[in-house]
């Protein structure tokens, strides 16, 4: 039963939410203001308003390059393709692994899971040099494939943990009911377990996508050619050692955010948890 909320409570709750949202958005508004400002950054002021509003930075960043190719478009595609592939490969490998760990007796299960956890202890920087050498030997430097392989190697263990817990939360009764109803074990998995785990799978895929999309250190190490850059590397170049083009950095940051916001918008339906509730007793 939902409790009825009094008007005073409602006003108070909304006031708190407005403050929280303002707190979170204020820096973002500054980025927006910067992105629409000219070469001279806006003066420090309470209200983040652009000085002499212009679309120049956005066009500089997102438009065609001097040589007529659309470099930024290619870099944006690099980022999206790499992030999607990381999410797909990571979740694709993690689903069967997590299901097996959740349901079956596997020799050395607990030891294996601990080893998996141990791989997560090392910071990415620690593996950057060995990965560089490995990818070089494999001829995968400067390639999206190489980057996806590296990203998936860190997203898979995390995804396995997430999904194992999700599969464990799905009652075995559901699969057994499907098997009595005429399904093979695989059909029961495909038609009952996977749909029931959809919110968890969506969240896990989104996490993998986001971490790959935002990753900088490996991308900066493994990608040397400009046309292979992903967006974090591109953005970093705008505020280089000698010449900080903050308006370009801000414009780039805005464009970078668009795919992520779109993704969250599309995924939010799947992110609503509790799809399994009600299947068994309750």
């Amino acid at each position: 039963m939902k409790r009825r909320v009094s008007p005073a409570e409602s006003v108070a709750a909304h006031a708190v939410m407005v403050i929280a949202v303002a707190f979170a958005l204020y820096p973002v508004l500054w980025v927006v203001a910067l992105a629409f400002s000219g070469a001279r950054p806006p003066a420090p002021h309470v209200l983040p308003l652009p000085t002499s509003p212009t679309l120049r930075p956005l066009l500089d960043v997102g438009g065609a390059s001097r040589d007529g190719t659309w470099l930024f478009g290619r870099q944006l595609m690099n980022s999206i393709v790499v992030a999607l592939a990381t999410a797909g490969v990571g979740v694709g490998i993690a689903i069967p692994a997590a299901y097996a760990l959740a349901r079956f007796t596997v020799l050395g299960k607990e030891g294996g899971v601990r080893a998996l956890l141990a791989t997560q202890m090392f910071p990415t920087v620690a593996s950057a040099v060995p990965l560089y050498l490995l990818l070089d030997a494999l001829g995968l430097l400067n390639s999206r494939t190489g980057l996806v392989v590296c990203y998936a190697s860190t997203s898979v263990p995390f995804a396995i943990f997430q999904l194992r817990a999700a599969f464990e939360a799905i009652p075995a009764d559901l699969e057994e009911a499907a098997m009595v109803d005429g399904a093979t074990r695989f059909e029961a998995f495909l038609r009952v377990v996977l749909p029931a785990a959809r919110p968890a799978i969506a969240v896990t895929a989104l996490f993998a996508f986001m971490s790959a999309y935002n990753e900088f250190i490996l991308a900066a190490t493994l990608l040397g050619r400009e046309e292979m850059f992903t967006l974090p590397v591109v953005l970093q170049r705008f505020v280089g050692e000698y010449d900080a083009q903050w308006e370009h950095f801000a414009a780039g940051a805005l464009v970078v955010s668009i795919p992520v916001m779109a993704l969250f918008y599309v995924a939010q339906r799947h992110l609503v948890a509790g799809l399994t509730s009600g299947g068994v007793k309750g």
Binding site: D173, E176, A178, M179, V180, D181, A183, T184, G278, V280
Partner: protein, 359 residues
Amino acid sequence: MASVHVRDLRKRFGKTEVLKGVSVEVPNGSFAVLVGPSGCGKSTLLRTLAGLEEADEGTIHFDDRDVTRLAPRDRDIAMVFQSYALYPHLTVRDNLAFGLRLRKTPEAEIAARVAEASETLGLGPLLERLPKALSGGQRQRVAMGRAIVRRPSLFLFDEPLSNLDAALRAQVRVDIRKLHDRLGATSVYVTHDQVEAMTLADVIFVLNKGVVEQAGAPLEVFDRPATKFVAAFLGSPAMNFVDVRIERAEGGFRAAGQRGLSVALDAATFGDSLEDGRAAVLGVRPHEVELGEGGVSLAVDLVEALGPESYAHGDLGGGAFVARLDASSPVKKGEALPIRLRTVHLFDKETGTSLRGAR
């Protein structure tokens, strides 16, 4: 429809032997109830019938078809789970149709069967809902519906009423039995509730520690329990047990207990098992007691008045004892109540087997 023949079934989980040679015969079209306390193996037996657990030893036949090693989907069974196990992402309609779709039943046929089942169970207004939008009773009906659309030769029920409140449970119990009588398919039903067992069953199997203690028609098992365990398990309030010693007296045998308890034993009922000096357990159901001078007196220490009847709690022959009395009986706490025992049971002190002679 099928008859079920289980022969000498054994199943162990790790070091624990859960089924220790169980044999069960269920005639075609009858309603069999497996009843027993938790851990007695009844659910394991049902899951082995379903094919969800594999038997270590023994055989299972449906009619003369050996299904012992068949996968669940090849057994032509339907099962109602304790948790209902409704598919959470499917509407009631799709839950009902799930099994038929897997078996590639034509859509027209599916629609007809779903309509028929929803008519039978009153699911019509719920068909487009998801399970999470249903009450417990509604979920239970959907689970039943999912079983009956399949038209299996055998229905399996795993404590289907245990998640319902008491009032609904009594109602659904009646509905299940009516449905069974209408469909005529063989049913095997697991419960730990002796009232469900008594009311639903054509044939009842009382399980204890992995073996069938007794099988038979419910009233026959109730009236002639083969062991002390069965006697204690069936009936509410439970049968009273008093330690006694069998003694030869003038005109036959008597059961003698502490505090001067002395009950005449019928030689025709107990036959050769009456031996002078044998240690035994006297069993008396609370409702087999009536007021009256019979040489037995109950030291009453509590009276529970339920309305139509009263329960007098007290001490008889050194043990706790409950007697069911008419509500009008003038009984007071502290009283020594003279009672007559209409029927007595006698069990071996060591083995707990009934001392009733073979009829």
